[in-house]
Symmetry: C2
Subunit: 320 residues, 2 copies
């Protein structure tokens, strides 16, 4: 059982790699090797099997082809240009999120072993003319280039799966909060930084009002769901291999109250409230309430509270 | 007012060109020039303005870029690898239907005049887990590579329109029957040939049973709708520029009865009934009943009967 992770240097890729190292198994088999891929070679992690870090640009078909020479059995495709960057640079987003995903699927097809491909899509595929709340089965109407490119990846994943070239599963992730590390170019970056940075003693700005609702999930929950997606049989997904993952809706104010309950009041005092019209335009185009019936029925996990997310951040990312 | 038509050598492109020549105007302005593009240079048609036929391969960005040097104001993007061919050759379909459409949108963006782009999508974007009948707003779940590629083109058209790079409108055409000319690699080709060929004195085979339902529209209706799509203001489409065109559902048997009513009984006797499992698998994945509320509300035309389609075929394609 060989595992390949694109975006393996990112925070989700690194957390996923550590979780797989701790399990040692996937789909009932021992993991024999894991390759983490990113633009810069990811740091190796400790594991009971060999782990390699490889630098590769998925927008180059030759580099992606080389990653599949070892015929990985399970591929996690997490690499992407994030929302703010894809909105600022359409060509960059198309090159990585569209062409890069197509390159990966073509390389998986060429490998010839019908690998399981778990694709990180996003709740940003929803928006526009879709009625509220978002139920399963609504026509996707993304209002960002990132969301459009993720939705295109879903269609490719479905078609390559229907043709028996891969065994794909696409998960539309809610915004993942609280992310460790540094702020990035995702328009949703503040949805983590206003909790992470104040708890770590730094100031952070919130560019939207306190009553702004957020559709979110914790890193621990989403890593569990990414592993669970590979464990399920592909046929369980039906003819549409892509689904809305469970998540929670809370306002920024409710999330701050949960942080205060778990961490104490000193963090909130470090939050500033300067609006940012560019961020606000993007995030107001995203949906804040989803009803992911199919994901729940298939057994994907939901978050019980944002207070849990705060506790897990302290356990997994600050105090570990 | 300059008009560019890709797929301009095809039967829809040729009928559209003749209809535009007869009108002389589009969007309230005199047409000053029209360029018809196809893999082989289309034959010129008579018109009160210059018409050029150009050979170009839309899968080559440089060739598409050259088409936009003259900054067309309205672009009809009809060129595509049809359903049966895209199913038989995934790479060909991806190259023309996905990359070709992206090339066209990028060239339109580079032209810088925000042209109106009317995109021929297809009812083949529907299928799989979508409930019957197909209402507007359902998540697309195509069960052919052609349908997947058309749905990807829709997402790109929407995103380029949202960004103000083009003014796009996407129409999901029902199968167009009765098409003149020869059979092609579309899995739906028989839905025209079983009427066209017997009325022209040739035998034709029907690969599906008599009770097989078809979602169809007449060439005359669809040409009117393609012109109407360019005349509407883009904002009328809302945040989703793509919609299901009106059409009709009739069984093959009902369509044959309409042909007999208009043409007489001798045509039906020339139909043979040998099933074709490859064709049947593809067309059974398509939907046969749609409820195109948005298209009807915007004023797109519907067909009143298949008998009209037979009459129009005789008037426009046999007796003209």
């Amino acid at each position: 059982m060989r595992v390949l992770v694109t975006g393996g240097g990112g925070f989700l890729g690194q957390k996923l790699a550590r979780a797989l190292a701790a399990r040692g198994k996937l789909r009932g088999q021992d993991i024999s090797a894991m390759e983490l891929v990113d633009l810069a070679a990811p740091a190796a992690i400790e594991a009971p099997f060999p782990v390699t870090g490889t630098a590769a640009d998925i927008s180059d078909p030759a580099q992606v082809g080389a990653l599949f020479a070892s015929k990985p059995d399970v591929v996690y495709h997490l690499a992407a240009v994030v929302s703010g960057a894809a909105e600022a640079d359409l060509d960059l987003g198309l090159r990585v999120n569209l062409t890069g995903t197509l390159n990966l699927l073509q390389a998986a097809r060429a490998a010839g072993n019908e690998p399981v491909v778990v694709y990180a899509s996003s709740w940003a595929v929803h928006g526009g003319d879709e009625p509220d709340p978002i139920h399963d089965g609504l026509e996707l109407n993304p209002q960002t280039s990132y969301g459009a490119q993720k939705a295109i990846g879903e269609l490719l994943l479905n078609d390559f799966s229907r043709r028996g070239l891969i065994d794909g599963r696409g998960l539309r992730l809610p915004t993942v909060s609280i992310r460790p590390g540094k702020a990035n170019a995702a328009a949703s970056s503040f949805m983590s930084s206003i909790f992470r940075d104040p708890m770590e003693g730094r100031p952070a700005n919130c560019p939207v009002p306190r009553d702004f609702p957020v559709w979110h999930t914790a890193p621990r929950t989403v890593i569990g769901n990414l592993i669970y997606a590979a464990e399920l049989e592909g046929a369980a997904f039906g003819t549409n291999r892509c689904l809305n993952l469970p998540g929670r809706t809370d306002t920024i104010g409710e999330m701050i109250a949960a942080m205060t309950e778990v961490f104490g009041p000193e963090a909130e005092a470090r939050i500033t409230w300067e609006t940012d019209p560019v961020i606000e335009t993007i995030v107001k185009g995203w949906r804040t309430a989803l009803v992911p019936g199919k994901g729940a029925a298939l057994g994907f996990a939901a978050d019980a509270s944002f207070a849990d997310s705060v506790r897990w951040f302290l356990e997994d990312d600050i105090r570990r």
